[in-house]
């Protein structure tokens, strides 16, 4: 006796959250059944393995049918075929677009192209996430990227509107899209200690302050591309390190203000010029795409690592960066105060976030 056909269709579509998770994680029906058996569900419910197999198959089939709709979540809301309560629809969407930290760290800042897709095999092996799940996550990134790519208005709002994601998840996607668009390098060994959250935090600050959208809200792509004009202007900051008087003045202002307040004062005093040169040079180099990509590598090399090797506590880094930014306002010969604030305001936030072990 073999089952040729076995289906269950409810007027309200049944969604089993556990099975959905297994499906999203890319397990085959057989593996999913095995995992469910291990969870002790048979003992709890008194069901047989055959029942579990049939149930799992059924849910997988439903999810497979729903997947097409999940690719364009507003369709899920308006379609008539599956009657799903709104709270369940939200859950389906949110879970479908959720991603693994390990996976996103692998592809963050990479071009969402066929080439990267080919590397998914390796990512799967490396992270232990099934290839199927990797594909889903990658396709999600790419789909969101494609849809919001040339849109006006706020990136987060656009994502939220077209994919009906929660605020939190929409922000994450904004970061992913922003990184993919600017191709920031995140995979270098010295960046490995950084989490997706660190990058997402920086992305959000950069979107808010460094993109076209920060100055003009009517541009296409406004939140995805960095403001080219702003990057050009950053060259002007070079004077802060090129002009020796200015550099000395800046140093003395910072040192005066921080004397006695910093545990690592002597290290700071000794390193001030190097640090300042590093931060200003990063700004000046941002006109080149290559250097934009290496932004995070540079920040870690030029600032995070030196401070870390001198064992600066985070509070001292904060004191220093605050004072370092603010003191520029007292430099009479320096004319680019607004530019400095736009640059340093964001950078300070990023550096503080990046500064950890």
């Amino acid at each position: 006796m073999t089952s040729e056909l076995d289906i269950f269709v409810g007027n309200t579509t049944l969604i089993d959250e556990d099975v959905y998770r297994l499906w999203l994680d890319g397990y085959s029906v057989t593996d999913a059944v095995a995992l469910r058996v291990r969870s002790g569900i048979l003992e709890q419910t008194g069901a047989t393995a055959a029942v579990l197999q049939s149930d799992t198959m059924d849910h997988y089939r439903t999810f497979h049918m729903l997947e097409r709709l999940l690719h364009a979540p507003p369709k899920l809301l308006h379609q008539l075929i599956f009657q799903i309560p709104p709270s369940r629809q939200a859950l389906l969407i949110e879970r479908y677009y959720a991603f693994d930290e390990a996976f996103v760290r692998e592809v963050l800042g990479k071009k969402l192209s066929k080439g990267t897709k080919k590397d998914l095999d390796d990512i799967s092996t490396k992270t232990g996430i099934t290839l199927k799940s990797c594909r889903r996550q990658f396709d999600n990134f790419k789909r969101v990227f494609k849809v919001v790519e040339e849109m006006r208005g706020s990136l987060v709002d656009n994502i939220q509107q077209h994919f009906l994601l929660s605020d939190r998840l929409a922000r994450d996607y904004a970061a992913i899209v922003f990184f993919a668009n600017n191709r920031f390098e995140t995979g270098k060994k010295k960046l490995q200690y950084l989490s997706f959250g660190d990058f997402a935090f920086c992305a959000e600050l950069m979107i808010q302050n460094w993109t076209l959208g920060a100055v003009d809200s009517q541009m296409d792509d406004m939140d995805m591309d960095l403001d080219k004009e702003f990057l050009q202007d950053l060259k002007e900051l070079k004077v802060l390190v090129a002009d020796k008087d200015l550099l000395d003045l800046h140093k003395s202002l910072v040192c005066t203000a921080l004397r006695g307040k910093l545990g690592v004062f002597s290290e700071m005093e000794a390193n001030f010029k190097n640090l300042s040169r590093g931060l200003v040079n990063v700004a000046a180099k941002l006109t080149h795409n290559k250097d934009v990509r290496d932004l995070f590598v540079d920040l870690v090399e030029k600032f995070v690592e030196p401070c870390r090797s001198d064992h600066w506590p985070l509070s001292d880094v904060r004191f220093f960066l605050n004072q370092y930014s603010a003191s520029v306002h007292s430099l009479d010969g320096f004319r680019h105060q607004t530019l400095w604030d736009r640059y340093m305001g964001t950078l300070r936030g990023c550096l503080l976030r990046l500064y950890h072990d």
Partner: protein
């Protein structure tokens, strides 16, 4: 020209990409009604076209309005080649034709293609302007309301229940026309869909005409089915109960008046004796003159059964004369009509006086084409024959009417089994007679009928019994006789007193048969049928005993014919009726008593059975208060009885044969294990696993013993097909396979719905078909309803306590009756007279497949007043809802902001006639839809499971869309009448036909209703309806 149909095409959305180059579609719409077609403009390059068309107006006869569906076709415009069809929408405009139903159909309809399924949606507005036509000879029957619901619809009052209406129309099946060889599958499917839609419309119109003729205004319990007879054609047939209904103006008026039975009776309907019978006629305009006709050239009528409770005893003292009078009057009223049948399964209080038992009739027919187009009435004659048989069975049971009546067919190649079944009953003469007799009877009735056990009392004359029967005095009133077991096809009457809870009981059976042709095949089948019926009955009886119950409701026996086997599946809901005696146990006896180990085995089995019975009693809370030993005395040995199976060949021959199929000469409930077969049977009895805790199941509308439903419901359809290994198939292996299939299916359902616990599967409806040699298909549709467990426990507890008190106080006066009865049953128990009576009374077959249960029996003295199930008890349910907001929790959750603004309104579907925790405020019309889906890329669509899963989901979606467009938010009495699935995996093809129906309604949550009604006592419907839609 009495009607104007107006259609407006507003917009489309989610259309498929038809032009690969642009990834867009140039869509336009054709609107067709009858022979008139209108077109919209082409909306270029969009998947969400906004046509916003003018009003297309069709001026048509109301006859056409009833028959024809509105056909909307969405196409992709192509400049150079033929336009590609995207899909179609058929809209039945019937609901717009009666005044109280919908006034406009407006909404998003899925665009359906028989090859691709749903492809986007279209927004359509439809209106009808009807001009009054007073022509008495009109062919239309606009204004007659149709209800699938098999009880009086909730917001109506039955003024008169007229009786049975039936009709059938036949046509050639387009699939078998010569043209089908050259047209595309799509064209062929569409031709079929359209034809069936047209035939359904015609059928409904004709039934409507009959109703008007009877001076009724509605058909309740309307059941329409189609028979795909293959080469020989397509039959669409329908039965129903004609009524005159009155709309209740105030919603409170139809609450069951609990404490005034006499008042209830006054509100109850009159059965109106029609001045003339109604016969069906065949002047279908669909008939094509050149087509071949349907006919029979071979027919076998098979023996049928009458299931009743059996017992023995003498006449009740005061019952006799009254009963005679009663019968006289009701007969005179009912005999005037050809078939005193009622398709209703639930009745107004006081309507049902006595229930005799299940009557059924089957007939095997050979389908064949003949070339005489002047004889279109063959099918009608077949059914008339069967109905006649049913009628005579009912008469044999002393009943003048049949309630809970239904008809079905099973077709395999050229063989067709026609089946009809119902419950023989005596109806209240108060409702059968007008005016005159009323006065004199009223008094008697009021003292006799409002008792809650009345329907259990035997309708037949004890001195003149149609078969040997075991009778006892009613355990409730102790005045009338009752059988020891009662089988019925109706729902449990709302005022019946039950103890504990009910449960789903199924008998499953397979029989191999040789492959044969034509007459030989039909003969083989008709020879097998009586054995199957008998075994199904035995199984039911055994399982009922095993559950410790004494009555079956909603019994439905389905016999399915296949190439090489016959399948029997009986489903019913077992209950313990307080009025009936306590069922005894089951005793096992071995044939070879000398063998020691064998004896041991037997006693082991016996123990197992006893344990099961005890366990079941606990599970279903069957605890009739025991009466202390000294009152009972010692058990009185009962005389042995034989159950007999009678067989006759009606009409074709007058020969009456008697088959004795009873298990030897033992007491009926001694199961004799004399061979491996019997062993199997006993084993199979014990393999039925009870549902997991927190689950109950029944196939009736409501679960006896549960009355505190919460509002969460989940209707579902589940389909399974298994392939039997063709090697060495034996009856036992087949039985086991079939049994496992059903049991596993149930287990799966319990598992899937575990999140709803505590809940009950109601209206569990199994359908078996044998699509191919080695395939068995089982389709189940049911609804899971949650209930409040805590409250259930409380109520039963208090009831039990109460009944205990009652029982103890009543013990004294109960004492004499059983003794009297016992002596009677001993003395007046001659078997032969009864037998003779049966043989002489009816040339038709009547098989009292009586099984007695007297092994451990004596008359127990019980009087119980257990809880009464009141489905409509609004007060209880409201409090339930307040007490447990769990039910709707999920649905009302708005914590997810992005999705909360969903535009699709929720449409509930249920096979029941009501929605728990809600009040139906309006019936919008009948939903009767037929779909065909075909694929030539089965693998790509996920195989057979993927294909059918998607199709059923689509069917649900289309039903919901139609209901929503009518302005409704639920379908009640939903039924999937047919699900014909055919596959050809080698060709990567599959095809499926589905026919569904139900009543579109507007319901309002009781909680909402209460709020609104306290604020604004009148005209609150509108606001609360919309409220209901949002929150559910």
């Amino acid at each position: 020209m009495p009607g104007k149909l107006k259609v407006k095409i507003v917009a489309g959305r989610h259309l498929p990409v038809m032009d690969r180059a642009s990834d867009l579609t140039d869509a336009f719409v054709e609107v067709k009604f009858g022979n008139t077609t209108f077109k919209t403009d082409v909306y270029l390059k969009s998947l969400n076209p906004q046509w916003n068309s003018e009003w297309f107006k069709f001026e048509v006869d109301d006859e056409d309005l009833q028959d024809e569906p509105l056909q909307i076709t969405v196409l992709d415009h192509d400049t150079y080649s033929a336009n590609d069809a995207i899909g179609k929408v058929y809209i039945d405009i019937d609901p717009l034709l009666y005044s109280e139903a919908a006034t406009v159909i407006s909404g998003w309809f899925p665009i359906y293609d028989t090859i691709h399924g749903i492809r986007g949606e279209i927004n359509v507005v439809v209106k009808v302007d009807l001009f009054n036509d007073l022509n008495r000879f009109r062919q239309s029957s606009c204004g007659v309301k149709f209800f699938c619901t098999t009880s009086i619809p909730k917001c109506y009052r039955a003024v008169i229940i007229h009786g049975f209406v039936e009709e059938l129309v036949v046509n050639e099946d387009p699939e078998y026309q010569w043209i089908d060889r050259i047209r595309t599958p799509r064209a062929s499917n569409e031709a079929r869909q359209r034809l069936i839609s047209l035939m359904s419309g015609e059928l409904q119109r004709k039934i409507g005409l009959k109703v008007l003729e009877m001076r009724g205004n509605a058909v309740v319990g309307y059941l329409q089915c189609f028979d795909l007879e293959g080469e020989s054609g397509l039959v669409v047939r329908a039965i129903g109960t004609a009524c005159t209904l009155d709309k209740l103006s105030s919603p409170a008026a139809f609450l069951p008046a609990c404490n005034s039975p006499s008042k209830e009776m006054k509100e109850s309907p009159l059965v109106h004796p029609p001045s003339h019978g109604c016969r069906s006629t065949h002047n279908s305009p669909i008939h094509t003159a050149t087509g071949s006709r349907l006919t029979q050239n071979f027919s076998v009528s098979v023996p049928t059964l009458i299931y009743t409770g059996m017992g023995s005893g003498s006449a009740g003292k005061e019952g006799g004369p009254f009963k005679a009078l009663l019968r006289q009057q009701t007969q005179s009223a009912l005999e005037q009509r050809e078939f005193p049948f009622f398709t209703l399964t639930a009745f107004p209080p006081g309507f049902l006086v006595h229930v005799g038992g299940v009557v059924s009739a089957r007939s095997v027919k050979l389908l064949d084409r003949i070339h005489n187009p002047d004889e279109p009435e063959t099918r009608d004659a077949w059914w008339a024959e069967i109905r006649q048989e049913i009628k005579s069975h009912a008469k044999a049971l002393g009943c003048h009417a049949v309630v809970g009546y239904s008809e079905s067919t099973s077709i395999c190649e050229e063989v067709c089994i026609l089946s009809a079944s119902g419950t023989a009953a005596v109806l209240n003469p108060r409702f059968l007679q007008d005016g005159t007799v009323e006065g004199c009877l009223e008094q008697r009735l009021e003292e006799n009928l409002p008792t809650r056990c009345g329907f259990c009392h035997i309708p037949y004359d004890e001195l003149n019994m149609p078969f040997p029967a075991h009778l006892t005095y009613c355990y409730n009133c102790r005045k009338q006789k009752v059988p020891d077991v009662l089988f019925t096809t109706i729902d449990l009457p709302t005022d019946a007193t039950v103890i504990g809870k009910g449960c789903l009981i199924q008998a499953r059976l397979c029989r191999l048969k040789k492959k044969a042709q034509a007459e030989a095949n039909a003969t083989a089948i008709s020879n097998l049928l009586p054995f199957m019926e008998y075994e199904v009955h035995t199984q039911l009886m055994n399982k009922l005993k095993l559950k410790g119950m004494n009555a079956l409701f909603g019994l439905r026996i389905q016999i399915t014919v296949g190439e090489n086997m016959l399948m029997g599946l009986a489903s019913a809901t077992g209950v313990y009726l307080a009025a009936l005696p306590t069922p005894g146990g089951i005793q096992i006896a071995g044939k070879t008593p000398n063998d020691g180990s064998y004896e041991q085995h037997i006693s082991h089995m016996q123990k197992k059975i006893n344990d099961t019975i005890a366990k079941n009693k606990e599970l279903y809370e069957i605890s009739p208060p025991e009466i202390s030993e000294e009152i009972i005395g010692s058990p009185i040995p009962e005389p042995r009885q034989r159950s007999r199976l009678l067989r006759s060949q009606s009409e074709s021959s007058d020969e009456v044969t008697e088959l004795d199929l009873s298990h030897g000469k033992k007491d009926a409930f001694v199961l004799e294990i004399d061979d491996t077969d019997a062993m199997e049977d006993v084993h199979s009895l014990l393999t039925d696993v009870p549902p997991p805790s927190g689950f109950y199941s029944c196939n009736t509308e409501i679960m006896p013993g549960i009355n505190n439903w919460t509002s969460e419901i989940q209707m579902f359809t589940s389909v399974r097909v298994i392939r039997l290994s063709s090697l060495n198939l034996t009856n036992q292996a087949l039985n086991k396979n079939f049994n496992d299939l059903c049991e596993n299916l149930l287990k799966s359902l319990y598992f899937k719905l575990r999140s709803m616990i505590p809940c009950c599967l109601c209206h569990v409806n199994f359908t078996v078909s044998l699509p191919e040699d080695e395939l068995i298909q089982v389709t189940v549709t049911a609804v899971a309803i949650t209930f409040d467990k805590n409250q259930a426990l409380q109520t039963t507890k208090t009831h039990v306590e109460k009944s205990l008190q009652r029982a103890s106080t009543d013990n004294e006066e109960l004492l004499q009756f059983p003794l009297e009865l016992c002596s009677d049953s001993l003395s007046s128990h001659p078997l032969p007279p009864a037998k003779e009576h049966l043989e002489s009374a009816s040339s038709n077959s009547g098989i009292p497949a009586a099984q007695r249960d007297r092994c451990s029996s004596w008359i127990e003295l019980i009087k119980l007043k257990a809880q009464t199930i009141r489905r409509g008890s609004i007060k209880t349910t409201v409090t339930v809802e307040k007490a447990s907001p769990v039910g709707d929790g999920n649905f009302r959750n708005r914590s997810a902001p992005p999705c909360a603004n969903s535009t699709v309104g929720v449409v509930k579907m249920t096979p029941l006639s009501f929605i728990p925790g809600a009040k139906i405020t309006k019936y919008l019309g009948i939903i009767n839809m037929f779909f065909i889906r075909e694929t030539t890329s089965l693998r790509e669509e996920g195989g057979v499971s993927g294909f059918l899963h998607a199709f059923i989901a689509e069917v649900f979606a289309m039903v919901r869309a139609h209901v929503a467009a009518l302005g409704g938010n639920a379908v009640v009495s939903y039924i999937m009448k047919q699900c014909v699935f055919m596959e050809n995996p080698n060709k990567n093809q599959a095809q499926c036909l589905i026919n569904v129906s139900g009543d579109a309604v507007v319901f309002v949550r009781e909680s909402d209703l209460e709020v609104v009604s306290t604020q604004q006592p009148t005209a609150n419907c509108q606001s609360s309806c919309t409220e209901g839609e949002v929150t559910t």
